[in-house]
């Protein structure tokens, strides 16, 4: 029984520690708001820097953020209204 508890403790501790390395509040914020458009002139992705090393943004991070932050199916012109195959 005691060894089962210890095993859970080991796994839980490891998961917590690894999760702490990979995410954080800054990443959650960035993923929720992946883009920014300031003053009609400059677009940029807003990444809030953490205290330590600056975050690295990969193409996969952007794809994930886009999926998670999707606004919903847009009202937009269809390709068929513009082009023919």
């Amino acid at each position: 029984m005691r060894s089962v508890r210890l095993r859970w403790l080991l796994v839980g501790g490891a998961l917590l520690a690894v999760a702490g390395c990979a995410t954080g509040e800054e990443w959650a914020t960035w993923k929720a708001h992946p883009t920014h458009f300031a003053s009609g002139e400059h677009m940029f992705f807003s990444v809030r820097n953490s205290e330590g090393s600056p975050p690295r943004v990969t193409r996969q991070d952007i794809a994930l953020a886009r999926d998670e932050g999707w606004w919903g199916k847009p009202i937009t012109v269809s390709q068929e209204q513009i082009l023919e195959r």
Partner: protein, 237 residues
């Protein structure tokens, strides 16, 4: 094993796992192949031949935009040799449709639609033409008639539950001779705009032809996404 030593072991395991995570080869992001129109979906032999002949160039274009312009999203089946709607004959234009991701801005929204279209044209059309013709065989193909760049951005975010976002879109049709002259430096982007056909759409509603007043804009070549790291082996010229 005491609780103390179990915690120490957990921390040690976490560090080993974290270290392994850091040294492991990062997963490679691959541009989705479905951005290209499959050759079998073209409706004429001319288009199928163009699509098959330049498949490699279209894949390279897709990859360049995917990796080097990560703030835009290429639409599904939007890269290919399409025929502009309502044209006679079988004129084939190398086309691409991109969604430009940006938060809605009150300043940008206050512009007239022609001004928003002019800003987007200035920012993206020259840059896209250069990327679409990176493989010289594309523009040199005698069966290619022109280029279409379709730019789309969010005009309005949903204002309430159940609302959908509204996109604004412009479609720019450019004859090949005009594009070739521009790419050779023989004419400025203002002349491209004067000779191009620009159609606007508010959501699904056609706005008809738009008159745009454009300028040289180096945004695409100078803008960098903060802290963006290219995939190993990828370079952006």
């Amino acid at each position: 094993m005491s609780v103390k030593s179990a915690l120490a072991a957990a921390l040690a395991l976490a560090c080993v796992m974290a270290a392994g995570h850091a040294v492991a080869a990062p997963p490679t992001a691959v541009p989705p192949e479905d951005r290209l129109l499959p050759v079998e979906l073209y409706t004429t032999d001319k288009a199928k031949t163009l699509g098959a002949t330049h498949r490699g160039a279209l894949r390279a274009l897709n990859a360049t935009i995917y990796h080097c312009m990560p703030w835009v999203e290429t639409q599904k089946h939007s890269i290919g040799f399409f025929r502009p709607k309502n044209t006679t004959g079988d004129d084939r234009y190398l086309s691409i449709r991109i969604f430009i991701e940006q938060d809605p801005s009150p300043e940008f929204a206050r512009f007239r639609v022609e001004e928003r279209a002019s800003a987007m044209f200035s920012r993206y059309v020259g840059a896209m033409l250069r990327r679409m013709t990176k493989d010289p065989a594309v523009a040199a193909d005698a069966t290619l008639d022109g280029f279409t760049v379709i730019l789309e951005w969010m005009k309005q975010v949903p204002r309430g539950a159940g609302d959908r976002p509204v996109h604004e879109t412009i479609a720019i049709f450019i004859e090949k001779s005009v594009a070739v002259d521009y790419l050779a430096g023989a004419i400025p982007i203002t002349e491209v705009a004067a000779k191009a056909r620009v159609l606007g759409f508010d959501g699904e509603t056609p706005l008809g032809p738009l008159r745009v007043a454009v300028w040289d804009d180096n945004f695409v070549s100078t803008f960098k996404v903060s802290n963006y790291v290219l995939e190993p082996g990828v370079t952006c010229g």
